[in-house]
């Protein structure tokens, strides 16, 4: 029982950055832009968050900086894919090469070679802000989390309502489904796509910044460690709905947490097999579900105004 509780607590910790990144991907894809560059956006967001929170001493400002830099870098993607109609996958990939290299470069130039390990203060949990120390499992689960965790879940609820219940959300989805039809209805397709890129950049940057402002006290190159791609899987696994994405992220977080716990308690099976769980699970579940592609129909296709 205690084992199960610990696994759940650790799943929540490990799922949170995934939720931010997966929501970023969701907003992007809902506007018809598939974005495989989240890994890069998160890397640069993670570094910006780390630096700003180190300089100002405020993790909150760090998260804000992560979001801002995420938006800035994502504007390259936005301009190229929306205005120039460049191949989205390739651009995402280019961001994946460019942004981490930039992050590594800035870290090296700022701290110099062979510097001491730099550590930064993390965001306080709600429990310590309230001055209580929860001992029960429920108390730990609901109180011992940083504000970012609550923000992540609030964003999921907001996203679910926005896409399903508001007119603006339906218009937004229309852009991802049938951009030309949306344009004839008077929706500013290019505008919506830019908004999507701003949201995507901000959320991905925040997801990266979460790692260095709420999770670990240090920054290392490559600390995003494939989360951008797992988030991409989570969006498809979650069938492009906010609730589904949340469940997918929790499931992957759970797999990761279980993998670590299993490795600690047993030995003999190569640990790589545990690490494969999220990836194989995605492929297997996709193969089993096997329904017609439920994603936005306009995803990946450029929108040319002239062809109207």
């Amino acid at each position: 029982m205690e084992f199960a509780m610990n696994v759940i607590l650790s799943s929540v910790r490990m799922a949170t950055p995934l939720i931010f990144l997966a929501l970023a991907e969701l907003y992007s894809q809902r506007a018809g832009l598939v974005h495989i560059g989240l890994e890069g956006l998160a890397a640069i967001g993670s570094l910006s968050g780390f630096l700003v929170s180190l300089i100002t001493g405020s993790p909150l400002l760090g998260v804000a900086a992560g979001a801002a830099v995420g938006i800035l870098v994502n504007m390259i993607y936005a301009y190229a894919t929306i205005n120039l109609c460049a191949e989205q996958i390739v651009y995402g990939m280019a961001i994946n090469i460019f942004a981490p290299a930039l992050a590594a470069f800035i870290y090296r130039v700022y701290f110099g070679a062979g510097s001491e390990l730099v550590q930064v203060g993390l965001m306080n949990s709600l429990a310590s802000m309230l001055g209580v120390t929860p001992t029960s499992f429920i108390g730990k689960l609901f109180l011992e989390q940083t504000p970012m965790v609550y923000l992540a879940y609030a964003l999921v609820i907001f996203t679910a309502i926005y896409f399903n219940k508001t007119k603006s959300g339906l218009n937004y989805k229309a852009v991802g489904e049938y951009p030309k039809a949306a344009a004839t209805l008077g929706i500013n397709v290019v505008g919506v796509k830019y908004v999507a890129c701003v949201i995507c950049g901000a959320l991905a940057g925040m997801g990266g910044a979460y790692l260095t402002t709420c999770y670990t006290t240090t920054y290392t190159d490559g600390n995003v460690a494939g989360r951008g791609f797992i988030a991409l899987a989570a969006v498809i696994f979650g069938r492009w709905s906010a609730g589904g994405v949340l469940l997918a992220c929790l499931f992957f977080g759970f797999c990761d947490a279980l993998q670590i716990r299993l490795q600690v308690s047993s030995y003999g099976v190569p640990y790589q097999f545990f690490q494969m769980i999220p990836y194989i699970a995605t492929v297997v579940v996709l193969a089993v579900i096997g329904m017609k592609k439920a994603g936005p129909k306009g995803v990946g296709k450029p929108y040319l105004r002239e062809e109207r």
Binding site: R108, A113, G114, L117, T216, T217, T218, T220, N223, V264
Partner: protein, 355 residues
């Protein structure tokens, strides 16, 4: 054509702005970024300035292995008056290219800190017989494989490293459960784990304790500090109260989790033993460090190059020759335990430990 240029220029501007934005904040440290050609004062009595280059697959600012190895080279180079250069974060496919680049630039010594560079080093050593290659943590059999006998393995004794940490862990544990976090499944890592385990069991038995070491875990990466956090939490749930590791940034994640757990319980009850440099004070939970003076080993290679005696041997790093040692001990260790620990260290040095 105008539009084409306008568009390209916009792109260029966005990017260079991003780059400059970074550049401004870094201005004060920018000068520190050119260590690749760090000029060290030439010793007056020597006509030639020797040059050493290091290659590394991780970053040299990782706060762990890469940093320790880089600093070791810098320290040794200062002592012997050598020029230094480095290439870090290089891909596995580029080991050889990097080594050869330095060979072509006329470097005298190539310093490769890790056994994973063996193939690349041996190949380059065959093609550049006049250049010396030092392989830190290289296998004992490697020097013999070099046809030009210009390769030296620098090998800190993994078992002794494990002993140094394990003896203190055995003395300090109250739950009688201790833990070890590994990075990659290297033989040196396994050797450290075995030494740690047997020393802790032996010392624990002397104290009337039955000390168990949890199975070794691997993060499969030296940079995933988040994995360190999760491993440490999982291992603390299993009752572990002294940690030792071999995984750079992963260890710093583990320390963070230990500090958090200690803060939550209100007193420092879970400890960590750091490595490979003296890191006392970096985290509250660090009670001692196992120190490996790689600079001593690198220095020995430099001396051999200067004297023309380099090659074909394995230089061991042990407690006996001072390469291995225990760092400063924190106040968390009661003085009588510190004394006992010193006694065990002396036994190790005199080769009477566990005998």
């Amino acid at each position: 054509m105008k539009k084409l240029f306008a568009l390209l220029l916009t792109l260029a501007m966005v990017l260079s702005l991003a780059a400059c934005g970074g550049g401004k904040t870094e201005a004060p440290a920018a000068s520190g970024d050119k260590p690749a050609a760090t000029e060290t004062e030439k010793p007056a009595d020597s006509g030639k300035t020797y040059k050493v280059a290091m290659i590394c697959d991780s970053s040299i600012s990782d706060g762990g292995w890469g940093m320790a190895c880089y600093n070791a080279m810098i320290a040794a180079a200062e002592k012997y008056g050598w020029e230094t250069a480095y290439s870090d974060s290089i891909d596995q496919s580029a080991y050889y290219d990097n080594i050869v680049s330095y060979c072509d630039l006329g470097y005298d010594l190539i310093y490769a800190p890790g056994n994973q560079y063996t193939d690349a080093v041996l190949q380059a050593a065959e093609e550049y017989p006049d250049i010396a290659f030092a392989l830190l943590n290289g296998a004992e059999s490697t020097p013999a494989k070099a046809v030009n006998s210009n390769v030296t393995s620098l090998l800190p004794n993994a078992t002794q490293i494990g002993w140094i940490a394990g003896a203190l862990a055995g003395l300090m544990t109250e739950t009688n459960t201790i833990a070890f976090i590994g990075g990659m499944e290297l033989d040196t890592t396994k050797g450290k784990y075995e030494g740690y385990k047997e020393a802790a069991a032996y010392v624990g038995a002397q104290e009337g304790k039955d000390v168990k070491t949890l199975d070794i875990v691997y993060s499969n990466s030296f940079s995933a500090s988040d994995k360190g956090i999760e491993f440490a939490k999982a291992m603390m749930d299993q009752g572990a109260d002294v940690f030792f590791g071999d995984a750079s940034a992963v260890d710093s994640g583990a320390r963070q989790a230990i500090d958090e757990a200690n803060a939550a319980s209100g007193s420092v009850k879970v400890y960590d033993i750091a490595q490979p440099s003296d890191s006392l004070g970096q985290n509250e939970c660090i009670i001692c460090s196992q120190v490996t003076d790689n600079s001593g080993l690198v220095g020995l290679s430099m001396e051999a190059v200067e004297n023309g005696t380099f090659g074909g041997e394995t230089i061991y790093g042990t407690l006996q020759n001072g390469v291995l040692s225990a760092g400063a001990i924190s106040d968390l260790v009661p003085s009588e335990i510190a004394e006992k620990y010193q006694g065990y260290l002396d036994q190790m040095t005199n080769d009477t430990f566990m005998k």
